[in-house]
Symmetry: C2
Subunit: 241 residues, 2 copies
């Protein structure tokens, strides 16, 4: 029989999932921050990753749309503000578009999402549906990849600034607020999961939700690798440098 984990044990189990499955371990991430990609390959990454960015507020609203707890809705609403902005500040999506601008991508092309890889679209769609359709606990837990975001962001930003002359600090402005937003969000979500996963079954659901989300991010890098690195065959209709 499996025993119920204490809150610190559950956190340790979740961090173990990240250590094994988070996309900082993917070969494409190594190439990206290690300065091994061409400008075109970085363009392909930014254009595809935009699809993920553009759907984050939709998945967060889908969570709010099924949540009868005003306190959880209020807390989760800050994620909408982080990505869509407000009267005082630019949101994450607008900042991502500053990066695609800086990389020389046509903004309408990026926003249209028409040239994204099928693998990107399927993975993002699976994530949005997961949040809309699974239990609220699983929906919250699927956000827990943010536990691991500060490390990958630091690697990405420093690596890209050091290695690419076509990228400057302003182009990477997206990432700076994420260094404070992601830890706040993940601390809230982790605490929620620790408090609400009060059976062995629910704790397993939380762990599986995080594994699922890691797979979403991982498969987005798989799709980029196959299309733009090795063997480098771009699917018909997708972005060609």
């Amino acid at each position: 029989m499996i025993a119920l984990m204490s809150p610190p044990e559950l956190e340790a189990a979740l961090r173990a999932v990240g250590a094994e499955r988070y996309h900082d371990r993917h070969a494409f991430h190594g190439l990206l921050h290690g300065g091994k990609l061409t400008r075109s390959q970085v363009q392909a990454w930014a254009l595809n990753r935009y699809v993920y960015q553009a759907h984050i507020p939709l998945k967060d609203a889908a969570l709010i749309a099924r949540c009868y707890d005003p306190a959880l809705r209020r807390a989760w609403r800050s994620r909408l503000a982080d990505h869509d902005g407000d009267d005082m500040r630019e949101g994450g999506i607008a900042r991502w578009l500053r990066m695609t601008d800086a990389l020389g991508l046509d903004r309408d092309l990026v926003v249209s999402m028409r040239r994204a890889l099928p693998g990107t679209l399927f993975a993002v769609d699976a994530y949005v549906r997961f949040v809309a359709e699974r239990t609220l606990l699983e929906a919250v837990a699927s956000s827990l990849t943010e536990l691991f975001a500060p490390k990958i962001i630091a690697e990405r930003v420093e690596g890209m600034l050091a290695n690419y002359d076509f990228v400057d600090r302003d182009a990477l402005a997206y990432f700076t607020p994420r260094l404070t937003e992601a830890p706040q969000d993940s601390a809230f979500a982790l605490d929620y999961c620790q408090r609400h996963a009060d059976t062995v079954e629910k704790q397993q659901q939380v762990i599986d939700a995080l594994k699922f989300k890691c797979a979403v991010l991982w498969s987005m890098l798989d799709a980029l690798y196959v299309a733009y690195v090795e063997p480098g065959i771009v699917p018909p209709g997708a972005f060609t440098p």
Copy 2:
């Protein structure tokens, strides 16, 4: 052949729908603000109407969850703040519960929604699904009953204060912010519909969405009337005074 309406013509057509179908014309509204109801009947109204209030943020989040336009999402997000509150102010749902408290209703009973009328639950559910499933234009248009809210709120508040000794201004605090929120929201939604209903078919969809929403509000008062006024037979399981 039907001609495309100008923006003012469309507004006039929408206001004509309200003049004919808004629930200020329902007999139950007349009884409520005319002081003709007992405290128990006012309790039944407040308890059932809570179901509607509790679902408003969910339907607004459902709209955001299907909207790829960050500007529309940002504007619509203010409705979530109005109902759920933020660090600075109480939201509409909390204010509604102050009224049910003042009416002597048990808060857990109200929040559980277990004793609401089936007709209330069905109408509210139909509204949430309409917003989640119809076109974005129809979803926006279904909010346009707010065009008519200030009048009914003024009637309700003044009538209830004048006629019921068990209601005071604090109990009706829900309505005061709505007098400024609803006109801002409806002006935005009307402008959106005027700009986006650019075919005869879409203009008809906008009008039909408002008719649908009027029917939602109307049928909630029908359910109250039948159960608690005439013939006054409470469905099994529903709130009994």
